[in-house]
Chain length 347, copies 2
DNA sequence: AATCTTAATGTAAGCGCTTACATTAAGATC
DNA sequence: GATCTTAATGTAAGCGCTTACATTAAGATT
């Protein structure tokens, strides 16, 4: 292992000079800089980031904490986040709180949190999902430079990147209404998840604004998996036969619905329309391709990364970046799963 | 920030003793251990892993290097890998060589590699995909404790976890044959990818062994995306009208094929059977659910993690673990996309 | 009782860097 | 030419740990 000292000796300068040509080259004369650069090349010297962190008291790394690596949000967020951070000389450190939602024990949570803090991350980006509120709040207070995606925490709004789920629900209702649908079923997610509650509320409110009531017996619950979408759809088909559309709270459950409808011989979209949420990869893979409410997940990750950078030690007080966008709005991506009903016949 | 010294002072012992109660508690007397534990709790002391790494000359971290975070293999591998490594007190550090396959520039590659080595990883797990061979070989020689998943490197077979793609192709052919199919099309991946070449060869050979020739005009190429599966299927439908089955080199392309066949009004599996590869999440989401050749990706990740642990600094010469399985075999997961043909009528 | 073991603890020297401060050299200014 | 700036470099003190070695105390052994 070649060290700074080896390089210094070879170049005939002090370690401080080598360190400077690496970190602030403009502070060293071009001739010595050349000598040092040569020596580095010759020895194949590689910085030791651990030593650097210890000495400089800043790790230039930001943690990314998620519930589970298999969340559909995880990869895109990690991707964009890593990219932005790298551009500013920062590293990313990922950690999950449980491999499956049910595995999320407080032990794993603590381990993950410890792994992040003990490695001196300067900020952490929390990818909200099933992380329970208590833990979330604790982390937020323990770590004043942490940032969260997908949830708004009272009193720390400037560290939250959020999405307007309510408006997403409205958009879905509006679209279905515009297409002439009146008898609509909804497959929602967990009642314990705020995002799901908001989506449901927005949907209901928009229907109500058009004098349509979403009855309790038109609401079904799933757990975001394809299979739960199938199960819910079975119930939908059993319950009533006059639904013309289904609003699913995510695309996976919508895919399950499509699958079940195929099995039951119900033509999509002619006999049943479906609208999903998230515009995830699966929306384009099913048949018919799924109309979905899109969450600008990359843009949100981008904001979170900038935010984290702003809050991180080395950047603090530099205010290098403008304040990023914190609140994001849904967009509808129309594909082929929603049919325009003959409104004359329907009304 | 509380440090070891703070804790030591509070507990009235030396820093060495605190360090010992943390790392080798059996070496310290229970009464002093109690004092130290108390002090740690009172101060809320958290280890500084960076300092620890520097002092102990071992980082207890293993890198995971992938082409892209959005690979379908990435999440499961990361998940299992993190789990195993954590169980042995190790950290995981992930890095990608490019956000999209096309972004894989040598600059990003070097950055990723540097990020890993400069942070003192003791071993790195390479997730083979589009990583080009040159780079791969360089990494393998530069880093004798690196491990690779998905490829066998000559002369370093004991550091490679691989999958029998050839047998996978055979299995697909065998299944289709058994179900009575004779006119079969294949959607393959890139000819530059060894795994694809092997799958194709195994498939061909098995057909040939049953006196069926896979004509060149029955082979179509895709790039593993859903859309490329659609495009290939369009060509298939145009080319000949007597195919009864399609073998797709991955599930995404198979999903594309299903989608296109639906559009063309071709009934699956009655008029066309499909078999995919990888048994990824999408296989269960499409309709009909896709029969697929499964790659035991979790088991492979498990092996790679154990291998990496064996090769890592702190474990070396301990041979704590038995040599893990290095070669994995395919398994067919039957679902509903392949029909049993009336063989009498067919022959 | 003298000596030997052994277990528990302390002492202090780094690990490979960064950085405040000191030093030196060389123009600029008068 | 003496003094002042300023830029380039060096010196050395840590950053928060680990760990080889030294020390001490207390049984065990004779």
């Amino acid at each position: 292992m070649t060290t700074l000292e080896n390089v210094a000796k070879l170049a005939g300068v002090s370690t401080a000079t080598v360190s400077r040509t690496l970190n602030t080259p403009e502070q060293v004369e071009s001739t010595t800089r050349a000598k040092v650069t040569d020596a580095i090349a010759k020895t194949g010297y590689k910085r030791n980031e651990m030593a650097r962190t210890l000495a400089s008291q800043s790790s230039r790394t930001i943690g990314l904490l998620t519930d589970t690596f298999s969340s559909s949000y995880f990869s895109p967020i990690l991707e964009i986040t890593t990219k932005i951070l790298h551009q500013h000389g920062y590293f990313t450190l990922v950690e999950a709180m449980g491999s499956t939602p049910s595995t999320t024990s407080s032990e794993t949570q603590n381990r993950a949190w410890h792994s992040l803090t003990s490695r001196q991350v300067e900020s952490v980006i929390l990818l909200s999902g099933l992380i329970n509120d208590d833990l979330l709040r604790r982390m937020f207070s323990e770590f004043p430079s942490s940032v969260i995606i997908g949830q708004t925490i009272k009193g720390a709004e400037d560290r939250c990147v959020s999405f307007d789920h309510y408006k997403g629900g409205q958009l879905a209702a509006e679209h279905l209404l515009k297409k002439g649908h009146r008898q609509i079923a909804m497959i929602k997610g967990s009642s314990y998840r705020e995002d799901s509650v908001e989506r449901a509320q927005g949907f209901k409110d928009e229907l109500a604004a058009n004098n349509i009531k979403l009855d309790a017996d038109a609401i079904f619950e799933g757990d975001y998996t394809v299979d739960s979408g199938r199960a819910a759809t079975k119930k939908i088909l059993k319950k009533r036969d006059n639904f013309t559309a289904i609003f699913s709270h995510n695309d996976d459950m919508a895919a399950g619905a499509i699958s079940e409808l195929h099995i039951a011989g119900v033509d999509i979209p002619n006999k049943m329309s479906i609208i999903g949420f998230d515009n995830s990869a699966i929306a384009q893979a099913v048949h018919p391709q799924l109309t979905s409410i899109s969450q600008p997940i990359k843009a949100m990750g981008h904001s979170a990364a900038i935010l984290a950078l702003n809050l991180s030690k080395s950047q603090r007080n530099k205010n290098e970046f403008e304040q990023p966008q914190l609140r994001f709005s849904p967009e509808i991506i129309e594909r082929h799963s929603v049919k325009q009903l003959n409104t004359v016949a329907e009304q």
